[in-house]
């Protein structure tokens, strides 16, 4: 299979406008004949569903949550990037493009990344028009702050709840379309399979989570916007319900998965405190604007943070990366934290954390200013830990956060199954091997508001004259039966261990062997370990109740069953890439000072994987990345 990313020819600056000028359109009267299915109502899904409905396509939208407003975009704290250059500090579309590409360690497409930066300008206008209450200067102009991996202030924010406010903007736009009858919204519905007819995506099978009833939905295109699968590590910053099932089921129906092992481990989360723990709460990266990260210079330090004098503190990010300091990119900051923790300099009861210290900022700017900027984060910290971060440094630790990997898509955001699109975190596209802070909200919005509405029309125009597939088609029958049978298998094992037991074991295994650092030996062991765990899962799982009722445990079991397969692909992906790049750090490939050693000669490609059945190895299809406009360089932040 030769992968064609369909990148338009011509100069970088005009590729997207050229594409839009030449893309096929569907006339307004015909749009209502072309129903579209959008799975997921986070920023990507809600913005896409609302935008497509505004254009006149009948949209059916799905979320597993009880309301579209609860998708996990809601939890993004720090902000959204845009190259507005309001601060007159040298920002531009090109600079943002370059920062993002470099941040991703040159493992993304130039054309995609440039388009992301270009569309960022419009997104802020869009969000303001919807009423998103971004932070403002006293005169009324929009305010900005800085994020990791960049030297300009291009991040727009709404206190520490930017994701919530952007999502509410998209949600309200979606609700408006629901009230107009243009979108039919099914909350508490989980997509359990994709229906492909004659090679094209034509519908989904979804389970009504409140009744257990299986339902069929047909459409001329299916858009997957179900977010990332970082919850595979069990302990993560994600919501409990976040999962990889929709993309995995699509993968098993023929859509390639790209770079699934590239997971961002976020540097500033709260450390684990016990085995019962269900998630790790994120503390926004924006805190690194004013917080300084350090560990004691002495291992096994027993004094409290405030008792350790200045000269006995190791500000290791400032030491190793002087020009970016505490704002080094996430992969680098997380790895540096792990290095110090593993070397025995960790702090806190479990010695698994580092300090994030605001004392200097409080001294310089005053407590009130710090409170205004980060008040909700400090109070969140206090709620969870009962500690006052104004008085003593926060204790933070790395945690699984964002999936750079996902369904492979071309420039049009279409997967390798015609008619199946993937947007937002669910796809692999713009972030390369590491995502810069405040680019995830951006990518989700840009995909949904500005890109998909153009590229989908280009595809749908070709479907207009084709015969319409309905849910009576035998493929719907066949696939629905398969899904029902899968659920029955899970319910009938009647073993002795819960889904959480398996999920926790898998998460630990994956975090140790396919997390912040990886090695050939560890990954090989992990693949074997996952197989053993998977076979134990199918022998000893217990799911109470039946498939015909509300059953949270059955929902979990289905997701864990998929995680047990995704995990194996992640390990194969990490094993096959014999270089270090971004979040993918192979212990065998590092410089003498412990920095990532990239191999552009042999690995300058996106690894797209094809499912070959459960008993066969996945097949790699490399998409070679061509850099026409920039020169690959060693990513240095020192």
């Amino acid at each position: 299979m030769e992968l064609d990313a369909k990148i338009p020819a011509g100069p970088l600056e005009t590729k997207w406008s050229q594409y839009k000028a030449q893309a096929k359109l569907v006339n307004p009267a015909n749009r209502k004949k072309l129903p579209v299915i959008v799975v997921g109502t986070g920023l990507a899904g809600a913005s896409a569903a609302a935008s497509l409905a505004e254009q006149g396509y009948p949209v059916t939208s799905f979320c597993f949550q009880d309301s579209a407003r609860r998708a996990h975009s809601v939890a993004a704290q720090g902000g959204v990037n845009a190259a507005k250059n309001y601060q007159n500090d040298g920002d531009s579309v090109y600079r943002m493009f370059y920062d993002t590409l470099k941040g991703g360690d040159f493992r993304a497409r130039e054309a995609n990344v440039y388009r992301l930066a270009e569309c960022s300008l419009n997104l802020i206008d869009q969000a303001v028009a919807q009423g998103v209450p971004f932070a403002r200067e006293y005169g009324g102009y929009l305010s900005n702050r800085s994020f990791g991996g960049v030297q300009v202030s291009r991040t727009f924010y709404a206190r520490g709840q930017t994701g919530q406010q952007l999502l509410l903007g998209a949600y309200q736009a979606l609700m408006r379309q629901v009230s107009l009858g243009k979108v039919t919204l099914y909350s508490r519905h989980e997509m359990l399979d994709l229906v492909v007819v004659e090679g094209k995506a034509k519908g989904i099978i979804a389970r009504n989570l409140d009744s257990g009833i299986m339902e069929r939905f047909a459409g001329e295109a299916v858009v997957i916007a179900t977010g990332g699968f970082g919850k595979i590590y069990y302990l993560s910053t994600l919501a409990m319900g976040c999962n990889g099932s929709a993309i995995w089921r699509a993968h098993k129906r023929g859509a390639l998965m790209a770079c699934p092992s590239w997971t961002q481990i976020h540097p500033t989360s709260l450390p684990q405190s016990g085995d019962y723990q269900s998630k790790l709460t994120l503390m926004s990266e924006s805190l690194r604007n004013d917080g300084r990260i350090w560990v004691p210079k002495l291992p096994d330090e027993q004094r409290t943070a405030n008792d350790i004098p200045e000269q006995e503190r190791d500000y290791y990010l400032e030491r190793r990366y002087p020009s970016f300091g505490n704002l080094a990119p996430r992969d680098i900051s997380s790895r540096a934290a792990k290095e110090r923790i593993d070397a025995g300099f960790g702090v806190g009861a479990q010695r698994n954390a580092v300090y994030l210290d605001f004392s200097k900022a409080i001294k310089e700017q005053g407590k009130d200013k710090i409170k205004e900027k980060y008040g909700n984060l400090f109070s969140m910290y206090k709620k969870i830990t009962a500690d006052d971060a104004y008085a003593a440094p926060m204790k933070i630790s790395p945690a699984a956060h964002f999936s750079m990997g996902g369904l492979w898509v071309d420039y049009e955001l279409m997967t390798t199954i015609p008619g199946l699109f993937a947007i937002g975190e669910a796809n692999f596209a713009d972030h390369g091997a590491n995502r810069l802070g405040a680019n995830s909200l951006l990518q989700a919005c840009v995909d949904g508001y500005f890109i998909l509405p153009y590229t989908l029309a280009n595809y749908l125009s070709g479907e207009l004259k084709k015969e319409k597939i309905t849910t009576d088609h035998p493929e719907f029958d066949r696939i629905e039966k398969e899904v029902i049978a899968q659920l029955a298998v899970l319910c009938e094992i009647k073993g002795t261990k819960t889904s959480d037991y398996f999920h926790k074991k898998l998460g630990k295994l994956l975090y140790d062997k396919c997390g912040l650092s990886r090695s050939a030996q560890g990954l090989t062991e992990a693949i074997e370990g996952i197989k053993v765990l998977r076979s134990e899962f199918y022998k000893d799982l217990i799911v109470p109740g039946t498939a015909g009722e509300i059953n949270s445990e059955l929902e979990k079991a289905g997701r864990v069953a998929d995680y047990l397969e995704i995990a194996e692909l992640m390990c194969h992906d990490a094993l096959s890439r014999e270089e270090s790049c971004g979040a993918h750090f192979r212990e065998e490939y590092q410089t003498t000072d412990g920095e990532a050693l990239r191999d552009d000669e042999n690995y300058c490609y996106v690894s797209a994987w094809e499912w070959k059945g459960k008993d066969n190895l996945p097949l790699l299809h490399p998409e070679h990345l061509k850099f026409e406009f920039i020169k690959l360089s060693v990513r240095s932040y020192s």
Partner: protein
């Protein structure tokens, strides 16, 4: 620590529910309340019983999914928290804790502690938005909004839609939820244009959904995990009266 739980169990909307006793004897005081519930569920499943169904998702207080009455208080005894942020250190060893669903006519119980809050979505559908299509809106900085206005709009917009206000109100009123959205959008110039139409439609939908009236006890503000102020309700009433008076 040991905990004695009395949890509301109800099979579905039509079934009759009751409080059921559960004892947990190895609760770590660092656990969150929901992690304590996870521990209970794990034990129930292994005993062959049905676990307690409860809503939860982000577990960091922002998605608004979790919600239960804990000892008669929405989200439990600590102000400004959602149930997922409540930790067991807030309870005494040996404590008895009553756990019940958010109760309101407009929030029918689905099972155990899970309730149907879709009425909130329908209130937003009635007008909780700005009519602005995706496309090419004006350059953001051509619209100046003072720091004070933006911060005030944010305070209203911070609502997470959990329903604690409704569950707390003796009239099951959704006035705090509805007014928060009305105020957010009425305070900023983008939303001002539709303010009159919006308030009339949203208030009327709120009534149709079976929520009660506000009688100004202000209990909702006390229990709101986001600290949404009752001044939003005053604003809603003012907008409502203004809209009715100026209606042609």
């Amino acid at each position: 620590m040991k905990i004695h739980l009395k949890i509301w169990r109800q099979k579905d909307a039509k079934a009759k529910g009751k409080l059921v006793d559960y004892m947990l004897d190895q609760v770590d005081h660092h656990m969150s309340f929901l992690e304590m519930m996870d521990t209970l569920n794990e034990q129930l499943i292994l005993k062959g019983e049905m676990p307690v169904e409860f809503d939860h998702d982000c577990r960091e207080g922002i998605c608004g999914t979790c919600g239960m009455m804990i000892n008669g208080q929405a989200h439990g005894p600590v102000p400004g928290l959602t149930a997922c942020q409540l930790h067991m250190r807030e309870f005494e060893d040996g404590a008895t804790i009553y756990v019940e669903p958010f109760r309101a006519t407009a929030f029918p119980v689905k099972r155990d502690l899970k309730v149907d809050r879709s009425a909130f979505d329908r209130i937003i559908q009635a007008g909780g938005f700005i009519t602005a299509n995706t496309g090419q809106p004006a350059e953001a900085n051509t619209l100046l909004i003072t720091h004070k206005t933006a911060e005030s709009a944010f305070d209203s917009a911070a609502c997470i839609g959990c329903g604690a206000c409704v569950a707390t109100c003796k009239n099951s009123s959704a006035a705090l939820f509805t007014s928060a959205k009305i105020s957010h959008l009425a305070k900023i110039p983008q939303g001002e244009k539709e303010a009159a139409k919006r308030v009339l439609k949203m208030v009327s939908r709120m009534d149709e959904e079976g929520f009660g009236h506000c009688s100004n006890t202000e209990a909702c503000e006390v229990e709101c995990p986001q600290g949404i102020s009752v001044l939003n309700i005053a604003r809603m009433n003012w907008e409502y009266t203004k809209a009715n008076l100026l209606k042609d």
